[in-house]
């Protein structure tokens, strides 16, 4: 039996279809209702409450805590102030991404690192010679994402302190429903949103408080299908879907550097600390990357025409497709889309794609493979800047 998260007592009865997905060994709801549509709109229009407890969480503390993280990740942790959060990838020696996540500086010598995959061993390997303790607190810390335009109002209605002053990628400690909660202004939706971190034993109390306070604002328990659409719109990549961890890849071709994942902005070659992969990344920065992650918009008219020719209305999946879709240019394959979905908000068929660097300029036209009435077809798709959707409210 897979584990239920600390919120399982609440999420289990809400799951109408009782269909669960697997997330790091936990049960996670794909959707609570029989279709995820309303949950998606809660993210963009009201407030979605998402159980993200299966995320891996590590506490890193001790005099050398900052040194350890700085040595491991590509961004400068030494300059991260207390109460701040940063998003960063981390790499192997060859500068290929192992995983990505956020680092929160809880106090001078205490950090929380989130990750998609287990990283305890990698943290330990990087900690040799340092005075630092690493703890896997994944099962002790419950986490909820409250995402959407109404999220702040809900928190202000139930938290001991106002969230008005909490800037993007900052963290604060307060109480919700009488229990201590750490709230960060972060998320995986590209919208205004917060993530709440509390002791697993307090999880249900926090859930109940939020649901009660949120009722007036349309709070909606939301599963990972809706989240998966929102994160593609936000241009956020996902491990095992949009890239393979360098630790898991069997062949070099399966690995990606941060530059190739559109994360060049998160590589700080000038930071003081020597970090894993720096040499390779510096070289790649000089010589250029072979691949580039881009946003794609599949052009509608042609797509529609291909279906009409078969006598069908256009049919595209209503959830994010986490499968590789070939992309070609002049008959030669030049890349693949790794996540693609219909954006209900933008009314566009969009994708995150890996393409050869020569085809990564916004405006470049590529051919996107689709299946029309059991036949392979290609339809044009245009390279666009990421993210697809980036509302002002996210940061303001």
């Amino acid at each position: 039996m897979l584990l239920g998260t600390p919120f399982h007592a609440r999420t289990q009865p809400l799951n109408e279809a009782q269909v669960w997905r697997r997330w790091s060994g936990y049960l996670a709801a794909g959707a609570y209702e029989l279709t995820h549509e309303r949950e998606y709109w809660a993210i963009r229009n009201a407030a979605a409450l998402i159980d993200v407890s299966p995320l891996l969480k590590y506490h890193v503390h001790g005099p050398d805590a900052a040194r350890l993280l700085d040595r491991m990740v590509t961004r400068d942790v030494s300059r991260l102030g207390v109460g701040r959060v940063l998003y960063t990838p981390w790499c192997d020696t060859e500068g290929k991404v192992i995983d990505d996540g956020t680092i929160t500086r809880l106090d001078a010598q205490r950090f929380r690192l989130t990750a998609a995959e287990p990283n305890y061993r990698w943290l330990s390997m990087n900690a040799v010679g340092l005075d630092v303790t690493v703890e896997d607190v994944s099962s002790q810390v419950a986490s909820l994402a409250l995402q959407g335009p109404k999220s702040r109002l809900i928190l202000n209605a139930c938290a001991a302190d106002s969230l008005d002053g909490l800037a993007y990628f900052r963290v604060t400690h307060t109480r919700v429903g009488g229990v201590p909660v750490t709230i960060s202004r972060t998320g995986y939706t590209g919208d205004l949103g917060y993530e709440l971190w509390c002791d697993a034993r307090d999880a249900v109390a926090v859930w109940d408080t939020l649901m009660t306070a949120g009722a007036a604002y349309g709070i909606t328990p939301t599963g990972i299908l809706a989240l998966d659409i929102a994160r593609v719109e936000a241009g956020l990549i996902m491990l095992d879907v949009d890239y393979t961890s360098a630790h898991v890849a069997t062949i070099p071709e399966q690995k990606s550097s941060p530059f190739e994942l559109n994360l060049g902005w998160a590589v700080d070659l000038k930071k003081a600390a020597r970090f894993v992969g720096r040499k390779a990344l510096a070289a790649e920065k000089t010589s250029g990357s072979a691949w580039q992650m881009v946003g794609l918009e599949i052009e509608w008219p042609n797509l529609e025409r291909l279906f009409w020719e078969e006598g069908l209305p256009p049919r595209i999946p209503n959830t994010t497709v986490r499968a590789s879709i070939p992309l070609s240019s002049l008959g030669r394959q030049v890349g693949y889309a790794s996540s693609s979905c219909w954006s209900p908000l933008l009314k566009k068929y969009i994708a995150l794609a890996h393409v050869e660097a020569a085809h990564a300029k916004p405006g470049d036209l590529l051919m996107f493979e689709i299946m029309v009435q059991h036949k392979h077809r290609y339809t044009p798709a245009r390279v666009v800047p990421l993210p697809f959707f980036n509302p002002e409210r996210k940061r303001e």
């Binding site: 897979l2 790091s24 060994g25 990283n119 061993r121 330990s124 630790h247 898991v248 069997t250």
Partner: protein, 524 residues
């Protein structure tokens, strides 16, 4: 000359049968001569206690080559390999460690004991799978003779060199390390949990006369990962009907291809005329003749018992004489009225459908080896058990069970020699050890069969009861197995071939030896 055959195959074990089937498939008229009343050699299932079928010697399918299963259409002839999904290791502190059939479940189980090892487990598995990929081509390669300048051997060396050259530096080095390290040293690089290291190290010592701290034992750990790269094919499992089920399916396939399988036909010696093997003489005085003779018996038995020494060069004889075959393991097969109930995880559960390993630590196994290396019986042996009746209900009467226990170490050369009392004492030590973890076991036993190396030798013919027909030591592998210059299944006698586990790539129910040898024979 009457009763002429194209080929005579001595020994109806799985390699002999596979060898015969491949020859017959190529249109040859083939006879297999088996000394016993049933085929299978060490892969036999017999009803020793009425109603209870014991998979007597070998008990799991390790690496049976998928191409053999396909070529010989074994599923059509009854082969069904059922999953053996878990490993359960009871610990001395009353807890247990298990590896289940699901990654998340296993991870959580290890995490319960050690978060560090839970992470390392995945990394280790990936590293081993990579190594398995690197080794796999070597297993299906006929070892070249590095001293020879013949085009064939030079080509083989090039191929080998090319393979090595195609590996990344990191993989090549890891492989070289793996070939030479001890299982204990390798595992200690990765893990801290005693029962995890103990159980993993055990697969490095099975069938060898070595302890987990002996260099050279790490390599065998790879075998566990070979199956994972065979795609969907489940390489580790339990054959329906026990390992005898495999033998019967191969025999059935062979017969369908026209092979004549003669039981109760013990070969006394090979008839050599003018430096060429022309036939065999049976114990009953019959003589059979054929263009080629292949022996699936172990090298010592083949060359020291079936062939007069004058037909063999001195160097070769010396090599065969010093070929090491120390038997180190025994088997205890139990007929049970009920399932063993483990105090660490009471009740009937998935643990009963997998392997139950008595290997609480590396030190536990090493101490068992310490006793054996001086010719003594360990007080507490390493035991790998399965309950075949939980996987295939036909193995025991309804509601009752059979338990197969592989035990190490049981030295062939026991101080003072083996006798009935010592055999029973050995059986008792196994039951006592298991009963420490599953106290109801003793009262559940309806019947038992204890097999120690001399029994294995007597029944299967394997010299010194060595289950791999020769120790898997570094100096007895690849182009040294069984003797330098004769690793391409040929022998110093024209028309006489070897096709058993004593050749490359070694023992286990792999079948590669029999098949590769057949392909060589067919080349002429």
């Amino acid at each position: 000359m009457a009763n002429n055959y194209d080929a005579i195959v001595i020994g109806g074990g799985h390699n002999g049968l596979i060898h015969a089937a491949y020859l017959a498939r190529a249109g040859k008229k083939v006879v297999v001569l088996e000394r016993r009343h049933l085929v299978g050699g060490a892969a036999v299932t017999e009803e020793i206690v009425p109603g209870f079928k014991f998979t007597e010697f070998s008990y799991v399918v390790s690496l049976l080559r998928p191409e053999i299963i396909r070529d010989l259409e074994l599923p059509k002839h009854g082969l069904t390999i059922l999953p053996l999904p878990s490993t359960f290791t009871p610990m001395d502190n009353g807890d247990y460690l298990a590896a289940w059939d699901d990654h998340d479940k296993t991870r959580r189980e290890i995490w319960r004991h050690s978060p560090k090892d839970a992470d390392a487990y995945d990394a280790y598995s990936r590293a081993m799978a990579r190594m398995a990929m690197a080794v796999k081509p070597i297993l299906s390669m006929i070892p070249p003779d590095p001293t020879s300048l013949s085009p064939k051997d030079l080509f083989g060396l090039l191929k080998l060199g090319g393979h090595a050259g195609s590996l990344s530096e990191k993989d090549f080095h890891n492989l070289a390390k793996l070939m030479t390290m001890s299982a204990a040293d390798l595992l200690e690089e990765w893990f801290e949990l005693d029962p995890l290291k103990g159980t993993k190290s055990a697969s490095g010592i099975i069938g060898t006369f070595l302890g987990p701290r002996s260099p050279g034992t790490a390599y065998v750990l790879l075998h566990h990962y070979m199956g994972e790269i065979d795609g969907a094919f489940r390489a580790w499992g339990f054959a329906k009907g026990g390992t005898g089920g495999i033998s019967n399916s191969i025999a059935s396939s062979a017969r369908a291809l026209g092979v004549e399988v003669r039981l109760n036909a013990s070969v006394a010696h090979v008839i050599v005329k003018g430096g060429r093997a022309v036939g065999v003489a049976l114990e009953n005085g019959d003589e059979l003749y054929a263009k080629t003779i292949s022996s699936s018996l172990d090298p010592k038995r083949t060359f020291l018992k079936l062939i007069e020494p004058r037909h063999l060069p001195d160097d070769f004889l010396t090599a065969i004489k010093r070929y090491r075959t120390r038997g180190s393991s025994g088997k205890v097969n139990l007929a049970l009225s009920e399932l063993p109930d483990f105090t660490a995880l009471p009740g009937v559960g998935p643990l009963h459908r997998g392997a139950i390993s008595i290997s609480p630590s590396i030190e536990y196994i090493e101490r068992a080896y310490d006793a054996a290396k001086y010719g003594d019986l360990p007080a507490r042996p390493y035991i790998d058990s399965i309950l075949p009746s939980m996987i295939d209900p036909d193995m025991a009467p309804p509601g009752q069970h059979v338990m197969s226990c592989f035990v190490q170490y049981a030295p062939y050369h026991l101080n003072g020699g083996w006798d009935d009392a010592k055999r029973e004492a050995f059986g008792d030590s196994v039951v006592d050890t298991l009963a420490q973890y599953a106290p109801n076991l003793k009262r559940a036993i309806i019947g038992r069969q204890v097999l120690v190396p001399p029994d294995i030798e007597r029944i299967t013919g394997l010299t010194e009861g060595n289950i791999f027909a020769g120790e898997l030591a570094l100096h007895q592998l690849f182009f040294l197995r069984p003797a330098p210059g004769y690793t391409d299944y040929r022998t110093p006698i024209r028309g006489f071939w070897q096709c058993g586990s004593g050749t490359h790539p070694g023992g286990g129910i792999m079948g590669a030896n029999g098949r590769l040898a057949a392909l060589e024979v067919l080349k002429g």
